[in-house]
């Protein structure tokens, strides 16, 4: 069965600090990987996705993620966070073939302070 592990439950950063959120997955096959963001009181929105090709993917709002197949990881990064990045971040995975449902991690809450 697929599973996703997000190591950090709550991260607190000052504005302009660099961000890296960990995500590891367990799946016996080729995968699609996603990061979603949920701003307070809102629904989930897609930040970025990986399907194939360049393992470094860039998303909206200056976020990027790197797929490292040997480590089963898909960590999210941003060089300089802003107060408006305060949100909850979810990593998700599904199989590359067919339409298997997305499996989500438990989320990481990011608080950015001035």
């Amino acid at each position: 069965a697929q599973s996703v592990s997000q190591h950090n439950h709550h991260v607190i950063l000052s504005e302009a600090a660099s961000l890296e959120l960990g995500c590891n997955y367990s799946y016996g096959g080729t995968v699609n990987l996603f990061w979603y963001v949920q701003y307070p009181g809102q629904h989930l929105q897609l930040l970025l996705k990986y399907f194939s090709g360049d393992p470094l993917v860039k998303g909206i709002k200056g976020f990027e993620a790197e797929f490292i197949k040997s480590k089963f990881s898909f960590n999210l990064r941003k060089p300089s966070v802003q107060w408006s990045d305060t949100a909850e971040y979810f990593c998700a995975v599904n199989g590359n073939s067919g339409n298997t449902p997305l499996v989500f991690g438990k989320g990481t809450r990011l608080s950015v302070i001035a």
């Binding site: 629904h43 989930l44 897609l46 996705k49 399907f51 339409n99 449902p101």
Partner: protein, 112 residues
């Protein structure tokens, strides 16, 4: 947002009563999903549908049933609500072409 709406947005119900949540899409996508979101658990899949009258169970399907009698509507029913089903429920559609899911705005359900 993006052709997917959920109703109601908020509901308070009593233990033991049936409750139906509705997800409506306007874009004719084949795949639809119901997730619940709880603190410390992230999103967990309840049921999903891959076409009219074609549904399957997810990770936390006990106590829930679904129906999809037409492409645009995916209904989630709590047959006899319990306090453990207090949660925020999100519907999602798969827009295909590796575009990921689009989520509805959610339904906050409180069972008292």
């Amino acid at each position: 947002d993006a052709g997917i709406t959920q109703s109601p947005r908020h509901k308070v119900t009593e233990t033991g009563t049936p409750v139906t949540l509705r997800c409506h899409q306007t874009e004719n996508h084949r795949y639809m999903y119901w997730y619940r979101q709880d603190p410390g658990h992230g999103l967990r899949l309840i049921h999903y549908s891959y076409g009219v009258k074609d549904t399957d169970k997810g990770e936390v399907s006990d106590g829930y049933s679904v129906s999809r009698s037409k492409t645009e509507d995916f209904l989630l029913t709590l047959e006899s609500a319990t306090s453990s089903q207090t949660s925020v429920y999100f519907c999602a559609i798969d827009r295909g072409n590796n575009n990921g899911y689009t989520f509805g705005s959610g339904t906050r359900l409180t069972v008292v």
